[in-house]
């Protein structure tokens, strides 16, 4: 490492001046000559047959260039999905609509207001069909979502462990035996992990420009996966990957919402090709909830059996997961990510069975955490209930059942997955021994003595992220359906330019995570070239080697590691050049203060400028050395990473109104080594806001007819800074052993660890009243009702 190491240091985000000053470039900022605008005609019905579409009035409006229906685009096939299990989405409704907001027709016009007016002028006749929204009802198949599918249950994930039926039968036998013993207690909670609308501050937007002379598309999209989109467009239109150039400029929030190939991304490309003009679609806030994927939506029962002294003998998680009407990118694979962590950081036998169920609602897919927050929610709620039942400290119960630190690096979870590193006691100890947690408990007792309803909730978590192992290709971890069967490896290219500035090109891009800064730190640290002289290029399908994208808290662990390795290669070559120039041995070359020197002879130096110049003047290089100074690396880790942590919350409940006030929130997160503590803290803050948002405010509510009642931000209550306390963050550091940086990933941890912490705290506050569970979101009405029900002895 260089003497001016910036790894692990708080470095202000280099990308922020542009973002804060409003000069960052987003898709909707891009205007091309002759550009046309799209508006969609969307279904007001959740399930109906389309009997006619009359676009004549719209087409008669001056400036309306086209109105397209499925008949115009059927030949392109449906929207490609990486996990095409269930019904994949047609580009436009094909005879039947299956959720409110489904796109029925596309209007292309010279301005966006006119496009909207024209869309309103398209007359569509519908014949309503039976609707099923309720998950339990859908699971009975009494009403079929799609007549041509055998069942609404699209897939069942079962594990305990995964992929070993004999061992699973043994697990189930053990659990049944434990339940039958008369010296054990069984605790069971049926809970809803409600649907969420992932509301990025920038809705999706896409602009496609077909150049008939070049025979190529240029596409700008607010996406987390530009390379996959390039592949999907190529495959859809029967052209090559080389004929599509996708750029993701600034992306104003992703959260998984933009980890999808959307029908509109294909449709604008189609329209551009057909009309010979650039075509843009910018999703409106109002249509976004029903045109962009939603998240979560589980109803499950968590059952735990253990002894009266805290030894847990078995755990079952059985539930239904709402997939919506159509399967998109990962849809039915999302609950599988829950299976990965179903047994959490614990060692007890675990059986998990999740049915993926179709309903007449918008598709669900990856939303920050994606399956893991749901799984951790059930596990940590029922452990909390068990601790209450046997009267044991919630931290003690957890500690007693953890996979011990000495089980690593060989630890395999009860659901069958190898885990990289872990020391769960360490994080829990750091939490319960913190002044903050002790103070919480003391304040709770004092406030309770004053007659207040105050609770402290604790929960711990493990997550799995940093998706990258090449071996997971067979489980769907590649973009094979988009014509790019590359594993989820990381990619990084580091190039020292002739003026000794550095260009770094990566296969993953930010939607707020600060890649520009983090990657500059990684490269600066390796080369000793100041961050100001490093530029990070991302989000461009042509500039970078095939990139997988930003999701699953994978960027730093996978692409960061690739970049680290590429920087090491560049450094090694630079050392050779320096040795040649200094007439020294390569082994004696060290880097510091803007150049290289010979160990033991600090006067013998050569600057990076000189090294770079020589690299681009090959006649000055050592005999046989190639010119240039750049390297590329593909990093394929042996495993995913498994961050963990412990959270605590303190709440006060107003008994008269059910109003919950979050007073205090403390975390201990262990994401391995930390490249930039400020960026890591920022990720935790955002994750907590979204997890607490689920616990307290957010809920996508559909009525029985499939209308989304929370379709605007008037009714879909998002958390704001004013609703949240100042978070108190702590850290333990248990480096990962599967990547050279020792990092794990922190994008989703805050969300995965927090919702259950809040609910545990509220249940703690209401314990004296006999309340044992309240479903999320903890709206005042629901908390008040729980108090009334408990008072009534229900």
């Amino acid at each position: 490492m260089s003497t001016t190491s910036v790894l692990g240091g708080v470095v202000k985000r280099r990308e922020d001046p542009a973002l804060i000053q409003g000069t960052g470039l987003y898709v909707d900022d891009i205007k091309l000559p002759g550009m046309l605008y799209v508006a969609f005609v969307r279904s007001p019905f959740a399930h109906a047959r389309i009997t006619s579409i009359d676009a004549s009035a719209a087409l008669a409006m001056e400036g309306v260039e086209a109105v397209y229906t499925i008949d115009d685009v059927r030949h392109l096939g449906p929207v490609l999905a990486q996990v095409p299990i269930g019904k994949v989405r047609p580009l436009l409704a094909d005879g039947v609509v299956n959720h409110v907001g489904e796109a029925v027709a596309m209007v292309v016009a010279t301005d966006r207001y006119l496009a909207r007016d024209a869309a309103d002028a398209v007359e569509v006749d519908y014949e309503p069909l039976p609707v099923v929204v309720d998950l339990k009802e859908a699971a009975t198949d009494a009403v079929k979502v799609h007549e041509d599918l055998e069942s609404n249950i699209l897939m069942t994930w079962e594990a305990g462990p995964f992929g070993d039926p004999d061992a699973m039968a043994e697990t189930q036998r053990k659990i049944a035996e434990a339940k039958a013993r008369d010296d054990t207690v069984v605790v069971s909670i049926e809970a809803v992990n409600q649907r969420l609308i992932g509301t990025a501050i920038e809705p999706r937007a896409v602009l496609a420009d077909w150049n008939p002379g070049y025979g190529r598309f240029t596409v700008y999209s607010s996406t987390q996966i530009p390379h996959a989109l390039a592949g999907a467009i190529a495959k859809t239109f029967g052209i090559t990957y080389n004929d599509v150039h996708v750029v993701a400029p600034e992306v104003g929030g992703g959260f998984g919402l933009k980890l999808n190939i959307y029908n509109d991304e294909i449709l604008v490309a189609f329209a551009s090709q057909r009309l010979g003009r650039p075509v843009k679609y910018t999703e409106s806030r109002r249509e976004s909830p029903n045109s962009t994927i939603q998240g979560r939506g589980w109803i499950a029962t968590a059952t735990l059996v253990g002894t009266r002294d805290g030894e847990i003998l078995g755990y079952e998680l059985h539930g239904l997961c709402d997939m919506g009407a159509y399967s998109q990118n990962f849809t039915v694979a999302i609950p599988f990510l829950g299976v990965f962590v179903a047994s959490g950081q614990y060692k007890f036998p675990t059986h998990v069975k999740l049915d993926c169920v179709a309903t007449h609602t918008m598709t669900t897919d990856a939303y920050r955490g994606a399956g893991r927050p749901e799984a951790m929610y059930y596990l940590e709620r029922v452990i909390d209930a068990y601790a209450r039942k046997i009267g044991m400290d919630p931290a003690e119960v957890r500690r007693k059942n953890y996979i011990p630190a000495d089980a690593f690096p060989a630890a395999v979870s009860p659901v069958g997955f190898a885990m990289d590193t872990g020391d769960y006691d360490k994080a829990l100890d750091a939490l319960v021994e913190s002044d903050g947690y002790r103070q919480m408990l003391a304040d709770r007792d004092r406030m309770r003595a004053e007659g207040k309803l105050v609770g402290v909730g604790l929960s711990t978590y493990v997550e799995v992220c940093g998706f990258g192992p090449s071996g997971l290709v067979d489980l769907g971890f590649s973009w094979s359906e988009y014509g790019a069967p590359a594993a989820f490896s990381g990619t990084g290219l580091v190039r020292v330019n002739p003026d000794s500035t550095v260009t770094v090109v990566i296969g993953t891009g930010p939607s707020g995570q600060g890649h520009q800064t983090t990657w500059s730190q990684i490269v600066s640290d390796q080369l000793g070239i100041p961050m100001e002289r490093i530029r990070v290029i991302h989000g461009d399908s042509e500039e970078s080697p095939f990139g997988i994208g930003t999701f699953g808290s994978r960027s730093a662990a996978v692409d960061g590691s690739a970049t680290f390795e590429a920087a090491q290669k560049v450094r090694a070559k630079a050392a050779k050049i320096a040795a040649h120039l200094l007439e020294a041995s390569e082994e004696d070359i060290q880097f510091a203060d803007g150049g290289a020197f010979v160990a033991g002879s600090p006067d013998k130096t050569v600057s990076w400028e000189e090294i770079a110049t020589v690299a681009y003047q090959p006649h000055r290089l050592p005999e046989g050395m190639e010119g240039g100074l750049e390297a590329h690396s593909i990093f394929s880790p042996a495993n995913a990473t498994w961050p963990f942590g412990a959270h605590a919350a303190m709440v006060e409940v107003d008994a008269d109104t059910g109003d919950v006030r979050l007073l205090r929130y403390i975390t201990v997160d262990d994401c391995g080594n930390v490249i930039n503590p400020m960026i890591v803290d920022g990720q935790i803050h955002g994750g907590l806001a979204q997890g607490i948002g689920q616990a307290m405010f957010e809920e996508a509510v559909y009525d029985a007819d499939g209308n989304l009642l929370t379709g605007s931000l008037l009714d879909y209550v998002l958390p704001t800074a004013a609703d949240l306390p100042s978070f108190e963050l702590h850290r333990t550091v248990t480096p990962s052993d599967i990547n050279p940086l020792g990092v794990k990933g922190i994008g989703e941890a805050g969300t995965i660890g927090s919702a259950q912490t809040i609910v545990n705290a509220v249940v703690d506050a209401l314990e004296s009243l006999g309340v044992t569970h309240v479903d999320m979101p903890l709206r005042p009405k629901r908390v008040w009702q729980a108090i009334q029900d408990a008072k009534g002895g229900n």
């Binding site: 966006r112 009642l709 009405k781």
Partner: protein, 282 residues
């Protein structure tokens, strides 16, 4: 989120504004635009003409007129919230409206004219016994707050009338506003809100008005509460008994944030809390 096309005028004075308002089939007045513009973007409202009164001088004042405090049509929530001249009930309602951006842009009078069933201002002006001053091409008309709120989003304003000013009588006494917002605490729209005004003389409550928001089909005076409280000593027991009558005559409205039962309960809790504070303030 794109409105239909519409005409736009920004008149220089109220007379011109009234004239413009009368000139179109369907015209809407815009002050801060915090309610009108979202409704237009959602295409829930598509006026032919928007009359922007935002540039008319002199409407952005809170004036002490001796017997009343007059709030002009362009006084922002933030101004109202910060004014010592404004009684506590309306000041608090203004402080708990929206977020800082909305409070700096939206107007007190505009919110009253919009008459959202969960807005804070209507309850406050009802409890304070305010007078609404409407301006039209044919002159000026005064409407008592009690007669102003007709139904959800519907007021006694006639087409062609602009709510130019709200006058709050300087009747003395104490007032307060209490609410539970959608995200808990005092933020966001009211799940239930109560404004109270009381006057005391010789140790008993001599006059009182309580108004509710959020719980019913329109902002409503809770007359039973006043009836029950007037003449009592304003003790906690008296407040409790009076608050029990909060929802008499209210058509309760269930929504995503509460059942009828819960809203009725909250109406009583908020009424009792607002009364307790108003009595302390009196």
């Amino acid at each position: 989120m794109f409105p239909r096309s519409f005409e736009y005028v920004a008149p220089a004075d109220l007379a011109e504004a009234a004239e413009a308002l009368a000139s179109a089939e369907f015209a809407k007045v815009m002050s801060g635009g915090m309610s009108l513009i979202p409704m237009m973007k959602l295409r829930l409202l598509s006026p032919d003409l928007v009359v922007d009164i935002g540039r008319i001088p002199g409407l952005d004042q809170i004036e002490d007129r001796g017997d009343a405090i007059a709030i002009g049509a362009l006084v922002r929530h933030a101004q109202t919230a910060a004014s010592d001249a404004v009684p506590a009930a309306l000041r608090t309602a203004a402080a708990w409206t929206g977020d800082a951006q909305v409070r700096n842009r939206g107007t007190t009078v505009g919110s009253v004219a919009h008459a959202d069933i969960a807005a804070d201002q209507p309850a406050a002006v009802l409890a304070l016994g305010a007078t609404m001053v409407a301006r039209s091409a044919s002159g000026t008309r005064e409407i008592a707050a009690a007669d102003f709120f007709v139904d959800a989003l519907t007021t006694a304003l006639e087409p062609g009338e602009i709510l130019a000013e709200i006058r709050i009588p300087k009747a003395g006494g104490g007032s307060a506003y209490e609410k539970l917002g959608r995200r808990g605490g005092h933020t966001d729209y009211a799940v239930a809100g109560a404004a109270a005004w009381v006057q005391r003389s010789n140790g008993s409550i001599s006059d009182c008005r309580v108004a509710l928001t959020g719980v019913g089909t329109k902002p409503t005076l809770a007359e039973g509460v006043a009836e029950a409280l007037i003449g009592t000593d304003g003790s906690p027991a008296a407040v409790e008994a009076a608050a029990a009558r909060a929802t008499e005559g209210v058509t309760l409205l269930e929504d995503l944030y509460g059942s009828e039962e819960y809203k009725a309960h909250l109406a009583k809790v908020m009424t009792a809390r607002a009364l307790t504070q108003a009595i302390a303030d009196a």
